[in-house]
Structures are given as structure tokens and as C-alpha cells.
Subunit: 250 residues, 2 copies
């Protein structure tokens, strides 16, 4: 990593600079470790909330609801460490972007945790309700795709691999298209049989939550782009073409 | 405001300190101005998105969708200014909390803007669809309450009035209760007449968005508490009693 913002004028300055650089590196490593922990926990929460939904496993759903607290705590810790690092080390250029990126990604992961928790809450609420048999397929498909996006973008972040991040960014349109077709399918089931309405209403929200988890993966991809290039991604997201005013996506 | 973290040892240090303090104050004032602008714009967006929904005003909805970009830009500006302020001034104690609070509130306001935009997108999507006549009442009521919460909490932030912020925090349960009854009401309309299903599905999401705007107002209230007291609010939110595992709220 190229270091900037330190003037090395003589040997003692250099020693001081090395000391500051290594203190900053230590801060950054701790931030990275916390983010990796948070990312892993988010992947687990998303996978298990969907698993709980598909298998109607209320006990698992309750565990997901509890685990979300760990994600919230990690976000607070990362925010605190990031702010302290900026205040103590006054990093500039790519160093500053590293810390800001950690802050932003922690925010997106916290939102992903909330969305997974909301799916889990609906599993608990649906306990004992009538379930139309053929609905799980669409949810399983969109979940697999979204979980793949989340894994890929976290991996892209770890490797600072902007190309891989952009692949995630470009694939978000597939999730939106799947969500739109699932939305229409669920409305059709509701119209076919009023007994489906309660279950399908919750499933609509679950599908929407999964689609939004995909949006947060896209946000992380944009953060990786900003981290690598030093400027924000200015293109509109792929989904924007579909949604800005013609709103095929809800 | 009590200033901490500056050691005043002699006159020249004091002059330097005064200079730093006033530079920090100028940074803080700029941050505050940007946040006030963003808060005002958010109130407007929420009010007008709901107005567009209740009056089925597609042109207004399209303007709301466009305005949301200004909110996103303000959030980016506030993040950049806040991070630069921390790096250049290395504030501590209440000064640091001021900057972190601005960062957090800007995040919540950006989410509120997104939720209002999503309501507006649904208004556009619903253009020309069959509308059951009696559904607007419940949405109008929950929106009024939520908009009141948003105004109150932004006012509490401006005045650093932690008591008023806690009133907002405590009132969030009312919004949740209204949302739950609206959710059930909308499902009933869907069951009564399948022609209601398309419209009611979008209305379910609009109601949920409004309820979540209320949650973000509650987050801002927690930030005001943290700003004034220097510690995070550790109590559970009022709604948590209803939702954590018994999930009356979806």
C-alpha cells in the first residue's frame, strides 16, 4: 500500500514516521479483523434466516433474532475504532479512504443484519399458519443469488479487488428481476385463494428484505470502487434504469 | 459548550488553542447547517410522498424521486466534512460526540429519504390501478404521527434537548401499534375482494416504510441522548417488548 501524507526530512522524522505508520497499520488491521468477523456473521444470519423460513424452523429464527445483537455491537465497535483512528492518526489519501470504507461497510452490514432479523421475526409470527406448498422455490432462488453476491463482495473487499466488486454491482439487476417476478407470483397466489393472503403478505416482505440485502451488497461494491479509485462511482446502478421513474421494481 | 482536550500552558498556547477552537466551531457550524438543510428536505420529502400517495399525484411522486438525490448528496457532503473535521481537529469528549452524532444523523436521514422515495415509486407504479375508496384514512393517520416524530426529534437535536428526544423515543410504540392494526386491516381488504390485492400490497409496503421512518426518528433520539450524556442509551426500545421474540410487529 502506498503511504502518503508523511514528510520524511531526516532520520528522527523517519523513525517517528515509521512508528506512526505501524501504529496506523495496527489500527487498520484491527478494523479489518472486526469487519471480517461482522461480514462472516452477516452471511451466517442471512443464510440461517432464509433456512428458518424455508424449513419453518421457529427455534432457529429465534436464535437469528438474538445473534443480530452481536452484529449491532460490532458495528458500534467499528465506528468507535474508526473514529479514534482518524482522530489519532489523521490519515490522508488511501489511508483515510481505508478507514471511511470500514465505517461505510459496517453500516451496510448492520442493515443486512436487521433485514435478516426481520425475516426471522416473520418466521416466528407465521408459526402455525397455513402454508401454501409451492411458494418456497422462488424465495430459495433469490436467496441463493443474494447470498452469493454478499460472499463475493466481502471477498472483493478483503482482496481490494475492484473488478470483482464491479461484477457484483452489475449482477444486482438479476436479483431485482427475480424479485419483481416473485412479487407478481405472490400476488397471483393471493388472488387464487384468500387463505394464502396472510402467509404471502409476510413472504412479500421477506422477498423484499432479500432484495434489499442485495442492494446493500451493491453499496459495499461501490465502497470497494471508491477505496481503490479514490473517487465515488458516478454511474447509476444497473437497477436504476428499471426503477427511477418507470418503477418496474417496488 | 464545555471544551476539553486542549492543554493551555501559556499565552501563545492559549492563542493557538483559541484559534483551533474557533476553527472547530466553524466546522461544527457548517456541519449543523448542512444537517438542518438535510432534515428540512427529509421532512418535505416524507410529507410530499404521502401526499402524492393519498392524492394519487404521479407528477408530485416523480418530483419526490428526483429530490432524493439532493438528500444523498448532502449525506456524502456531511460524511466528508465530518471525517475531515475529525482528522484536522482531533476533537475529544463532547466535541467528538458532536461530529459523530452528525455522521449518524445524516445516515438516518439518508435512509428516511430512501423510504420516502420508495413510497413515491409505488405511487407511480399504481397509476391507473383500481383503488378501494376507504383505505387512505389509516395511512394518513400513521403518516401524521410519524412526521410529527421526525419534526420533534430534529428540533430536539437542534436544541440538544435530550428530554424532548426521549419523548419521541417513548412515542414510537404508538406508531408500531398503528402499523400493526393497519397491516391487519389491509389483509382484511385483500381477503374481501381480490381486486384490492394489487393496491393493498403496495399500501402494505408504504405503511411499513412509514413505520420504519419512525424507527429512524427513534435512532436520531438515541443519538441526541448519546450526544448529551456521553454514553449510549442502554434500555431496549419501547417496541422491542412487543417484537423481540413474540413479534406482534412485522
Amino acid at each position: 500500500m502506498k503511504r502518503t501524507g508523511f514528510n520524511m526530512t531526516d532520520e528522527s522524522d523517519k523513525a517517528m514516521t515509521d512508528h506512526i505508520v505501524s501504529a496506523f497499520d495496527a489500527d487498520l488491521k484491527q478494523l479489518g479483523d472486526k469487519l471480517a468477523e461482522m461480514g462472516g456473521l452477516c452471511e451466517k444470519l442471512v443464510a440461517e434466516s432464509v433456512d428458518a423460513l424455508l424449513r419453518r424452523d421457529t427455534a432457529l429464527a429465534r436464535r437469528v433474532i438474538d445473534w443480530d445483537r452481536s452484529i449491532d455491537r460490532l458495528q458500534q465497535e467499528i465506528e468507535e475504532r474508526a473514529v479514534n483512528t482518524i482522530a489519532r492518526r489523521a490519515p490522508v489519501a488511501v489511508d483515510l479512504r481505508e478507514v471511511v470504507a470500514a465505517l461505510r461497510i459496517a453500516n451496510d452490514l448492520e442493515r443486512i443484519g436487521d433485514l435478516a432479523k426481520n425475516i426471522a421475526k416473520r418466521v416466528v409470527a407465521l408459526e402455525g399458519q397455513f402454508q401454501p406448498p409451492k411458494l418456497a422455490g422462488g424465495v430459495a432462488h433469490i436467496s441463493d443469488l443474494t447470498l452469493g453476491q454478499l460472499k463475493d463482495v466481502l471477498d472483493a473487499y478483503t482482496r481490494r479487488d475492484e473488478e470483482r466488486a464491479m461484477e457484483v454491482w452489475n449482477r444486482d439487476g438479476e436479483i431485482d428481476a427475480l424479485y419483481n417476478s416473485l412479487f407478481r407470483e405472490l400476488l397471483t397466489y393471493m388472488m387464487e385463494d384468500p387463505r394464502n393472503i396472510g402467509f404471502c403478505a409476510h413472504l412479500l416482505f421477506c422477498a423484499k428484505n432479500i432484495e434489499r440485502i442485495g442492494d446493500h451488497a451493491t453499496n459495499v461494491a461501490e465502497t470497494v470502487y471508491y477505496l481503490v479509485h479514490g473517487v465515488p462511482l458516478t454511474e447509476e446502478r444497473p437497477k436504476a434504469d428499471l426503477t427511477s421513474t418507470t418503477t418496474l421494481n417496488f
